[in-house]
């Protein structure tokens, strides 16, 4: 079965590309989750000068084209760049770094938006029942869990679908840094459309599953409207 798939996709290394895509998505989403959730919640909780500017920059970064991030990370990681000595260019680690820059703002921005809306009432509630500050923050985290899952799933979806940064930083090296999206890009450049479409369908199915999971987390909220 696997060899059949591999043969069907000719020489682009489709199976490796799927593996790389998943490894990349899980790693970068995990790191971005820790950074993004923390940053999003801190941003909501604390007031400081230029906070609105920080929020606006975060929102801008949520929509920044990945290829721009890719270029910046490329310049950082290249042999003659400031981090060149670590030899991270054209490696999965380098791609993870680039994707963390792309996904963290998505997660922190989403978490911040929900926290700004919901955290104050959770904190007020916690005070009316006598919770300590630590218990209060844990409760905020727990009460926002479905929104946080949603943010994480959005980040994951962005990771598997992203092509610009992984192409630049990863270099689309067969069997090492080639992802499903860059494999599709390569298949297209060779004029091999049917295989590109097949790989695209697999990616679509993955995105669909991710979206279904996201929907599942959102479903609880239907009850939340009290009329």
């Amino acid at each position: 079965m696997l060899t059949m798939i591999e043969e069907f996709f000719q020489n682009v290394g489709a199976l490796d590309a799927i593996k790389v895509t998943l490894l990349l998505a899980f790693s970068s989403t995990s790191i971005a989750t820790i950074l993004g959730v923390l940053f999003g919640l801190l941003l909501e909780k604390y007031h400081f000068p230029f906070k609105n500017l920080v929020i606006r920059i975060n929102r801008t970064l949520m929509g920044v084209p990945p290829v721009v991030i890719g270029l910046v990370v490329y310049l950082l990681l290249m042999r003659r760049g400031p981090l060149g000595s670590f030899s991270l260019l054209f490696t999965i680690r380098g791609m993870i770094i680039a994707q963390v820059f792309i996904i963290t703002p998505i997660i922190s921005g989403t978490v911040y938006a929900y926290a700004a809306k919901f955290a104050p009432q959770v904190r007020n509630f916690a005070k009316t029942v006598g919770a300590t500050p630590l218990q209060t923050e844990l409760l905020v985290l727990k009460e926002m869990r479905s929104e946080i899952y949603f943010a994480i799933v959005s980040g994951f979806g962005r990771s598997i679908s992203e092509v610009g940064a992984v192409m630049l930083v990863g270099g689309n090296i067969k069997g090492r840094t080639r992802t499903m999206t860059t494999a599709i890009s390569l298949l297209k450049s060779q004029g091999i459309y049917s295989e590109g479409i097949m790989l695209g369908i697999i990616l679509l199915i993955m995105a669909f599953i991710v979206q279904t999971i996201a929907e599942h987390f959102k479903k609880e909220d239907i009850y939340d409207e009290n009329f």
Binding site: V129, G130, Y223
Partner: protein
Amino acid sequence: MKISNLKLEVSEFKMDIADLNIERGFKHAFVGPNGSGKSTLAKAIMQIIPNHSVDLEGLSSIDIMLAPQRPYLLHDTVMNNILYPLKIRNRKVNNDELISLLDMFNLTDKKNQYARSLSSGEQQKVSLIRCLLCHPVYLIIDEALSNLDSESVMRIEEIIKNDKETTWILISHQLTQVLNICDKVHFLDKGKLIESGDTEEVLLKSKNEIIQNYMSNQVIKVRE
């Protein structure tokens, strides 16, 4: 509980209370027209007014609880909502009491339901039960009976009357309820404390025009 020199300003609304004494062992009521600051005072006592803190002379926030008109329910089951305040206090629930309260408010069948799917009256009940189980030193009931059926209201009134442990503070427009239950009334208007004292002294015998006006309006309403 003694509050002195409470000064607040929350979006246009100003509150200035020089001296308020909520004695332990009595049942209190905050009374006053809409916008007089009753709920704001309750929030101030709970320390949930942004950028303000009120000095409660040794009382810690764990001693005071508030059941608001529109309670916040956790994204969880009825049971976990009820047990949350005990859990954070590291206290075990009194099972007999829990069973009887659930039974009293017809929530026994719904204890494993998602709390936010309950009706607003039932949500108020959940909020009340979780406060009652904690037996706090002070418990503020801020219009928290407004959506309850009359039978449930009667039952909770019984509980309040017979309770000797908690110092209750009722915020209510139901004057018969206040007259029936409360020993002390603190009358508020436009963010100021107009009069404090025994219930009947303040509500029925006051010489203050504002209170007299308020009372006559309420009586007319009752008659209508």
